[in-house]
Symmetry: C2
Subunit: 622 residues, 2 copies
Amino acid sequence: MKNHLVVFQPQGTAGRVTEEQTLQEAARELGVGLQSICGGRLTCGKCRVRVEEGSFPRFGIQSSMAHLSPVLEEERSALEKGGGCDGYRLACAAKVYGDVVLFVPEESRADRQIVRKSVTERAIAVKPALRQYYVELAPPTLSDPLGDWERLAAELARTFGLKDMAIDHLALRGLSASLRQAQWKATVTIWRDREVIRVEPGLVETVYGLAVDIGTTTLAGYLCDLHSGQVLSTDAMLNPQVAYGEDVMSRIAYAAANREGLAKLHACVIEGVNTIVRNAATQAGLQPEDISELVVVGNTAMHHLFLNIDPQPLGRTPFPPAVHRSLDIRARELGLNVHQSANVHVLPIEAGFVGADNVAVLIAEEPYAQDEMVLIIDIGTNGELALGNRERLLCCSCAMGPAFEGDHIRFGMRAAPGAIEKVTIDPQTLEVTFEVIGGGRARGICGSGIIDAVAEMLQAGVIDKSGRLRRGEAEGFIIARAEQTAIGGDITISQDDIRAVQLAKAAAYAGAKVLMGKLGIATLDRVILAGAFGSCIDKEQALRIGLFPDCDLERVHSVGNAAGDGARIALLNVDKRAEAERVAREVDYVELTAEPQFVREFTEAMHFPHMKDAFPHLETRA
Amino acid sequence: MKNHLVVFQPQGTAGRVTEEQTLQEAARELGVGLQSICGGRLTCGKCRVRVEEGSFPRFGIQSSMAHLSPVLEEERSALEKGGGCDGYRLACAAKVYGDVVLFVPEESRADRQIVRKSVTERAIAVKPALRQYYVELAPPTLSDPLGDWERLAAELARTFGLKDMAIDHLALRGLSASLRQAQWKATVTIWRDREVIRVEPGLVETVYGLAVDIGTTTLAGYLCDLHSGQVLSTDAMLNPQVAYGEDVMSRIAYAAANREGLAKLHACVIEGVNTIVRNAATQAGLQPEDISELVVVGNTAMHHLFLNIDPQPLGRTPFPPAVHRSLDIRARELGLNVHQSANVHVLPIEAGFVGADNVAVLIAEEPYAQDEMVLIIDIGTNGELALGNRERLLCCSCAMGPAFEGDHIRFGMRAAPGAIEKVTIDPQTLEVTFEVIGGGRARGICGSGIIDAVAEMLQAGVIDKSGRLRRGEAEGFIIARAEQTAIGGDITISQDDIRAVQLAKAAAYAGAKVLMGKLGIATLDRVILAGAFGSCIDKEQALRIGLFPDCDLERVHSVGNAAGDGARIALLNVDKRAEAERVAREVDYVELTAEPQFVREFTEAMHFPHMKDAFPHLETRA
């Protein structure tokens, strides 16, 4: 049989295919991913390609349009619905009768990409766990009385090459009705090319998922369109478990000391996630049942409580988690009010105190794919550090306390309207200027404001390198005077506040030093500051107080909630889930409390910026 | 390295193995299945073998005992617990240092067998889906803080070669507590060598399952020990769905006509199965949570209602089921009160009216493994027929009505105390003698009694071949006079009762004839009568009224509840589940209503025993 040259642009993929093959078949054969929901039924119009006309000397092709089968009525109307047919063809309809050059527009690609903000802007391929397939079945007859599921499974195998499909029990329950409702035309949503989770009457082209970051203090959700990869809405709220303890350890203790403790903490976070589901869906004009998959990250204790696993062993040395590997659990088993057959993918755990949230940070920042030596600090009540490059990656956890979240600080508050977020102190006059989130009078001071304040007080000599407030400031250093505040009194930084900042920054610094010692390195190529509030931290001030070892400030980055980003990435791309599994297993966990030099490092790091270490990159600025 | 000859009796398996291997390793290498729960820890004592002493000229072996490593203290005490060590060794302890002959007692075999009553007594290998493994783990330390699940999974892989294990979400929840409760010694129950469903502290050597037959009228359960294959208790009850309709069609209609119809019918049968679970467990001295797997069979409508699948399509031509293939569903998803991670295996469906119950009958009787042409009649309100041999197998369904279950018969009742189960009529005097279940006065007449009565009335000329009662019996023929009954009046067989029997037997006979026509055969080699009450039917009387085509009565068998037997077999042996899947796919379903000759066959079969067909095997008796 004759064959012809087919070229797909802009990929530049070219090859010869047999005459009379469709462009869709040609694309499949040449490994060019084209969208196809309806399986060549001219219904979905997703596989539009533009036929390039003119001369293509490189390929020896003169013209293309005439080398394809003519446009039939059905194809024309599908093309017109999709935005006109001028120069376009449906790849599932057009057959090859000569050499052709085609252009695949972005929206027709199966392997669409979204560009993600990160230190180095990275493109993430959209390759979700859920895919949709449109089917038209022949209704059963007395001579062909095959069961509904086997009928559907046979069609999925025939048209889409999907073999050995399973179907969720609840999807099976509704199958017969869905198929009959639209005269045996239906859209099937399949999880990981393995299991049917949804059968909807007629042609449906939308599928949604939710990425959830369960922080000790904050729950955040990102509702995404799984076709385009776009975030449609986001929602965040205080983790309702805060009522049972502010940090991880107090919640573990609550679960241990109270008979129904675990059940309460679990119910609490499930209710919180359900609230986020409702809010995010409403914002996007959707129903909770429209959410067909969730990806969840959180530190190990949050992970356990979310899954209703007793966290007690996490509270005692050697702090082993119940499970490391990632999990796929039916959302209904957890009481989540999303689609009844939705899956919840929970990213893996590195160690007792380095959880799925840190794995998410790693797959977002990919230090394991780089030559540079990168330090990542995920700032939080329970801080998590990672250090390494493609050769080796270490991680550890350090108890930073909630100082940088504005908690356990006399006038501390979260980064919300009324919070002082920026502070400058004139070294000569000691005059303080500050900025308040949302303007107006100050109500308190948030994490970035505290770092600013301490760094400026240090610079101005209000505190010395050991953190001692100079004489005369026994009541604390005034940042905002009563007449500038909304609380009827001064907002000050006390000696205790400074100690809390010292403990937090020393923990991170000492952790970084222990990891650097393990890798035998003296300097860092790059530092990444992550955390739900990490993006507003002034990196120069952070270096000034010694939150991390010296580094070129051009190479220090605040990336915001990298854990949330990682959750979203895993939601959109199953390959990144496999990558997460790999990195969680390969990263070496360092238990700081078992490291003899940790206490010394910690003590030395209590100084501003450090008792001994030099900061050449700071000196060039000062 | 040296090697030695090892012979396992009574299997006669022999082969050479490397010196210093244990007998357990040797057995594994030679393909001899030995029990092992503890994985060679000398704890369970399950792998006892007897060392044969003396001369074995065939193998050139002189003596055996001295060719094994000496008995150590631990082994001796394990052997003594297990019934003495005289001549016995634990295969996991004894190492090979010379040629040996061993005898494997029945209780040490991994492939134990149970003998099942059937037409030809058959042995069923006990090969359940659930197996238990005893593990001892090293507790986590700071230098080895691996998570609990990964710790267990690594041990399962190391000691038992079980790779890529999964764990049910609820089993994972309890894992940490179970492991710590008995100092990291635990017994793990694994489903199909794939998924951990249970972790219990210490050494546990018991695992139980329940086989359930959901009949339109009767629910029956068989609680089995999955190690020995023994039935520990049985329980049966009226299907509570009877309140919503006596036959399949009326329940389908109920589900269609009432908004909550399906939900009610589903809740009903689940509650019924839960009652059987409770009763069977109590009888066996167990708790419902001790039941770790269920196998369920039932006709297609019962199957759908049990699974909460809308049965409406089953009520309309072409009667397609929602699903054919077997299903594995978590018991908790169905609301069954057994072990929280138990699986429910539902056998496959053949067609809209030939369900998992018939598949169970087939794997119990194995017509597809025989050369003889076998007809199997599963008698029930919805009768199911199978005809064939190893070449080809056909099945069909026929609406027999409940006459043989004693229903829709004026004085009909189920086979229970007070039921007339046997009837004789003197052809000369027309004197009736009868037997009552449990003795005493009669309360009604059950299926076998009805068949007897009609056959005897025919023999005595009280009815003619067309089923007409002779003149003078307008009120019906008296079987028991008022003074012989407990109901204050006569028990009679009316003209309507005879018609109901005619309809039932004609349906079965005509179905058999259509199937015989399809296979082009004129005679049957064997007939099997199955049904919950099938064992008490007098096969000669059944042939006399023409319930099935002529056959040598020596080759007609009443086997009782073969569907329940098949469910039990599938519970005990996973290979039989695969066989069920195969046969359900391979058996050819014949839709009688689509067969043009069915009406003629049915009409002719209304006569006693038949309008045209000859019954040579009856004539030789008469």
